[in-house]
Amino acid sequence: MNIALLETGSGYWNTLIWVVTALIIGVCVLWLRNRGESRYKKDTDQTKPFLSGNPEVSKEDSHVGASHLYWGFTEALKNYYEPLVKMHTGNINDYSGWIVLVMAIIFIIIGVS
């Protein structure tokens, strides 16, 4: 038995081949990278961004906080998120209420069938 082979019922997936492929691709990427510009130096004018003449924002300020990540995603799904967040009331009565509700629903499903 090939221990690196994973049978998935309808086919198989070989980890070793995947790892080897990933290594080859990695080597290729490194090789490509080495062919790049060698005169590039850090902390000179070469690396300074040009923002229409405005001074560069300091790195600490330019870090995007966690609340602002995926802003567009949550904004687009506002209709989905609003009731969902409202559902998580944090109230103990509701916690037990949900259990009883699910019991009732399963009772209806199993009782009918």
């Binding site: 967040v85 009331t89 944090g90 109230n91 103990i92 009565n93 037990s96 209420g97 009883v100």
Partner: protein, 115 residues
Amino acid sequence: MIGNFPFIAVIILIGLGVYSLLFKKNLIKIAIGLTLIESGVNLFLIALGFRKGAVAPIYTQAPEGVKMVLPTPQALCLTSIVIGVATTALILSIVMVIYQKYGTINTDEIRRLRG
């Protein structure tokens, strides 16, 4: 129906307890609800073990030649009672700590963790 009256009492006890859990806003009332459910379940176990015209399963005092009630539910119920007091004590201690930190035992105000 009337023959099953202890079972009906069990259901009423459990119902009262669940009602208290769902609709009462005081944490101590919630603990009382849990105690009631627990009593109901214990009564259910003991009622299951009852046998008509039988005596307690202890040979020391039993009359000769009489059937005995089923002993297993009594053992289970004993375990369940002790577990119940442990649970109640822990819940009430946590309620006391919460009162110390939050200054309230109303469930509507104890929801800093949400969302």
